[in-house]
Amino acid sequence: MRALLRFLRTNRAAALAAGIFAVLAIAALAAPLIAPQNPYDLAMLDLHDSRLPPGSIGATGHFYALGSDVLGRDLLAAILYGLRMSLAVAVTSSIAALSLGMVLGLIAAYRGGRTDALLMRLVDLQLSFPAILVALILLALLGKGLDKIILALVLVQWALFARTARAAALSEVNKEYIDAARILRLPQWRILLRHLLPNCLPPVSVVAAVQMAHAISLEATLSFLGVGLPITEPSLGLLIATGFQYLLSGDYWISIFPGIALVLLVASLNVLADQLRALLNPKLQLARAALPPLEPVASKGAPRDENAVLAVRNLTTRFATSQGTLNALEDVSLTLRRGEVLGLVGESGSGKSVLGRSIMGLIAPPGRVVGGEVWLDGRELQSLTEPQRRRIRGSRMAMVLQDPLTTLNPVLRIDTQMIEAIRAHEPVSIDVARARSLQALESVGIPAPAQRLKCYPHQLSGGMRQRVAIAIALLNRPDVIIADEPTTALDVTIQSQILAQVQTLARETGTALIWITHDLGVVAGLADRIAVMYLGRIVEMGPAEQILRAPAHPYTAGLLASIPSRNERGRPLQQLGGTTPSSLIVAPGCSFRGRCVRATQECEAMPALRGAERYVRCIHPLTEAAA
């Protein structure tokens, strides 16, 4: 209840809808008090007052606030009684359908097997026919009447409740405590119900709100068509139908006012259901939460390297989250020479992928590169407009992603995805582009490339798909390729094949590589230099063999010690103590000090990245070679 109140306080649309619904519902309930004279009492009909406009006074002195209808009924009173009927029909039919659907859904989930298959088949069949058609046919065979319309509404509504309840129940039925109860021969039903009901209620209540709106709308529609409630019963649909013929002659109120009441009722319920659904879905909530603004950060002026093909200076990237600002990348500087392979190493969440995407210019809201520069071949990229930046992406710098199964577009053929990559940057004919694509596939060792070009991604293996992705990255002979763990998802044998091939290709074409990985074993054989990242910062950088042989930063040393193959047989495996702290909590000082055995008081100030060829961000490095 408190959660509901907070929800209404923070959500204006929901509060407005709830308010409108409450006013209409109370007015409908209080109809006999507001209009003591039942307009549907046949004895009270006064045809003299037929079709009086709003605000008139009738022959007997009765004041018609909203006018009167064809039979001389007070329209306001008729609308209130109609609302009452709408709500009564909707509530009755929805509760009956909910009960029926829940029971059947729970039985289906609990019994499983044949019962489940049969019931769900029935649900599918029912739902494949539109509700209005099913209701119409039923009423055509059964005839008009209040009981019949409720029956028809129950029959069109139960299926959705059954499906929702079954889905919620299934997630619970497969849990271990149910198995345990089964083995212990405990009354499973009771146990199940105690856990199931709280689990089912949120999704079922959203469905109930939608279905109530639907039932109100359906009853009005059927009555409007003359197949729902008989003319003697109060119904908004019937009121609108009788007023419809006078709409063209200008007596608008007879149909418009009941229509407005109906629309407000149905729309408020729908908006409520919509907002409730968003409340129950955390994914949608995150998108709606107010995000903190991201302030730009001034550049600190890292030194420039004239030989570098890529120079990243003081790059800082932040993400706005509902819990605050996340510093994913903090003041990162690095350089890359032509044809060089840089291994970028770190644990998950260290910011290595964010660095790759920041260099590519692929950070999208809620993230933003808030400071720093990216120099490619003497040109600064951060100051470029998005179209200028786009022309560089894919031509001067390219990227390969981690999961080959999701990297390629599943509904486009390989040739389409390769040819477009060329033609986005160069005005060549499709034939030329196709020939170059063929060559690229050959160069990454794909057999029968001409046939592979005509394939869809799902027709190729994971390793093959990653080779295609690498071929696409190579298509325009870029200066830099950023490879984000491209072999992590592959078999070890395929991994080493691809690594060897990429190394050769990079050497042949002079393409520099940033190879992102958490696997030091991979970079050992591939990289010229290594950069180690921890919590968005580079903590150590330098020639690969030096770092692997004699790590200076305690974190690097810890990473190296945890590689199983480097340990002697029989000795217990080393592991890095503690876990990576959240980058949401910005504590001053060295971010590794919580896990570091060498940490002292001095580490409470953030150490600078010191060194020339070999850099380390540590006050107590393991080797002094770096400093």
Binding site: F129, A140, S217, N409, H458, I472
Partner: protein
């Protein structure tokens, strides 16, 4: 592909057999076929003749067989009101309904997909929010009420379009259609728009949510990394994936358009199957009701089949799964 279609056709026949039993039970076993199928004003002699001709003195299984055989021969009884074979009557009204439903679907797709793409690509923008909000309302408001509002605004107040009827039809390829004359098109505009609104809202919501999902995927990031234009990323890479669920749903919803045509046709006095069934229910012209029921079931089955085939044509992964 052929095997796939054949298997679906067999499934379709199975469902049809089940539906024929249900309809038969509804009319002959639970209901009183004499009341359902014979004109209430018939004399005693006519009733006796009908009992024999309907075979009501026969055992139930024999009655079912003759019901099926009659139905297969297109004999579903005669309309009391029009004194015409019921099936023929409905089929004669079908082109008007199909024309209406088709136009509505085209409107819903042509307007809905681009709006959905916009709302999905920029969900936080003012435009995206308004499109989404409009879709919630379009979804929520009763269809007949939307129809009344269209009449009120465009026929009564502005006077741009007629408020009802089918208007003049012309003949194209031997089919009577409203597309052939300007008057026909003017009459078609409002009912088609009315019928389209509900589906329009649905297609916008579906396109927007599929779009948002597609834009979060790796292949979109990879497409951006290739330096493709925003237009190509949204219009080809994302849209082609979005179209798979959208076309499936649009196809499935075509059946529901024919169902909802009942409402629109009644509001706009459009002389199609929907108006016929409502009129028939009002005057208890039961053979027409039964014929309509069977015909609609067949129609739905056919639509489901066509959608399945379309779906496999759109999504290469489904093709593979079926081939294996």
């Amino acid at each position: 592909m052929t095997a796939f279609i054949l298997r679906r056709l067999l499934q379709l026949l199975g469902v049809l057999a089940v539906m024929s039993v249900i309809v038969f039970m509804g009319v002959f076993v639970i209901g009183d076929p004499l009341e359902l199928l014979i004109n209430p004003e018939a004399t005693q002699a006519e009733r006796a003749a009908a009992v024999t001709s309907l075979g009501l003195d026969q055992p139930v299984w024999r009655q079912y067989l003759s019901f099926v055989s009659d139905a297969l021969h297109g004999d579903l009884g005669r309309s009391f009101v029009f004194n015409e074979p019921a099936l023929q009557l409905i089929v004669s009204r079908m082109p008007a309904t199909l024309e209406l439903a088709l136009t509505a679907m085209v409107i819903a797709m042509i307007v809905g997909v681009p709006l959905g793409v916009l709302a999905g690509a920029r969900p936080q923008s003012m435009l995206g929010r308004s499109i989404q909000g409009g879709a919630v309302l379009g979804f929520a408001l009763p269809n007949f009420w939307q129809g009344l509002m269209l009449i009120m605004i465009f026929a009564v107040v502005l006077g741009w379009f007629p408020s009802g009827g089918r208007g003049e039809t012309g003949t194209v390829l031997g089919i009577q259609t409203s597309f052939a004359t300007l008057d026909g098109l003017r009459h078609l505009a409002l009912p088609a728009l009315n019928l389209a609104l509900f589906k329009l809202a649905l297609i916008i919501r579906l396109t927007a949510s599929s779009m948002q999902e597609a834009l979060r995927s790796d292949y979109i990031e990879f497409a951006r990394a290739k330096g493709l234009s925003e237009r190509r990323i949204l219009g080809v890479h994302a849209l082609k994936n979005v179209m798979v669920p959208v076309v499936t749903v649009a196809g499935l919803e075509f059946g529901s358009l024919i169902a909802f045509a009942v409402v629109t046709e009644s509001v706009f006095s459009w002389p199609g199957m929907g108006k016929l069934i409502i009129d028939s229910i009002t005057v208890l012209d039961r053979p027409v009701i039964v014929a309509y029921l069977l015909l609609v079931v067949v129609l739905f089955m056919v639509i489901n089949l066509v959608v399945d085939i379309l779906y496999s044509a759109l999504d290469p992964r489904v093709r593979l799964a079926e081939a294996n």
